[in-house]
């Protein structure tokens, strides 16, 4: 599945970038009290949320090449944590093209950064957030 492949791609890249594993790949919500709670050593985490995935059709039926718009929220205990994480994830996925390591070996034609870049604060998670949006073009099996 493309979701699994994207998560693996980012997680592998983040481990290399920060020399340690970064919690992430959650869908829609972070686990409760993940970041910055007293005693927690987690200062960065990320999640993804699917925004748009219209079906493409040819006369014969559904087309394999699919456009998926995904939002990635980068959480940080400090603003710099969220920003650093955002830059790191952007460096991993922006312009990527190749085969992912999910169970379907999903082939990605390209990942393109979209215009949206929003900084905010999450009251629920008590953390700063940088939200990025990407267009993922891949072949849906």
């Amino acid at each position: 599945m493309i979701e699994q492949g994207l998560v693996k791609l980012i997680q592998t890249g983040l481990t290399d970038a920060f020399s340690q594993a970064v919690p992430g790949g959650y869908a829609t919500e972070l686990p409760k009290d993940l970041i910055g709670v007293q005693g927690s050593q987690v200062f960065k985490a990320w999640l993804y949320r699917s925004m748009d995935r219209p079906g493409n059709y040819v006369l014969q039926g559904i087309e394999g090449l699919t456009n998926w718009t995904v939002q990635i929220d980068c959480y940080g205990y400090n603003p710099s944590d969220a920003i650093d994480l955002g830059y790191a994830i952007d460096a991993i996925v922006n312009g990527f093209s190749g085969t992912l390591t999910d169970s379907d070996s999903t082939v990605v034609e390209g990942i393109f950064r979209q215009g949206s870049l929003i900084d905010s604060f999450s009251d629920v998670n008590r953390a700063y957030v940088r939200s990025l949006e990407f267009l993922v073009q891949y072949y849906q099996i």
Binding site: Y57, V58, L59, Q60, G61, E63, L65, G110, F112, L135
Partner: protein
Amino acid sequence: MSYTTSQSQTGLGTLIQINTGTITTPTWTTIGEITKSNLSGKKNNFDDVTNLQSLAEEFLATISTSGTFHLTYNRVSTNTGQTAVVTAWTGAAKTQFKITLPINTAAGQSSQGDTFVFLAYVEELNDVGQLEPKKAIVSETTLKATGAYTFTEGS
């Protein structure tokens, strides 16, 4: 039967095929990944026969024009139907095409959709159209129909 609801249909499931065999023994090869087909210019033609005794303009129907199909499809170099279109363009050959519409269940069809068979020249072939980083490579071709269509209503 009184009207209750529309029996129209969409184009999803339409097959547009090129004959890679002969007229007598056709081999219908589907042109793959067509995203759009547009027929234009199918019309009757007229000659103006207005004369001094006419009370208004008068026209005489002469011969019809079968029109032009404009096809847009995702370029796949290994698709045999698309390759056959390139071959037809290269040789400027008069080639047979067939369009099979989907079965229109609402209109009472159950086994076969409407078909149109016609001869055409591949008039224009823009096989490497616009190249953009975020868009699929798309080919566009124009089929200039020659002669009359053979229409077979589905059943």
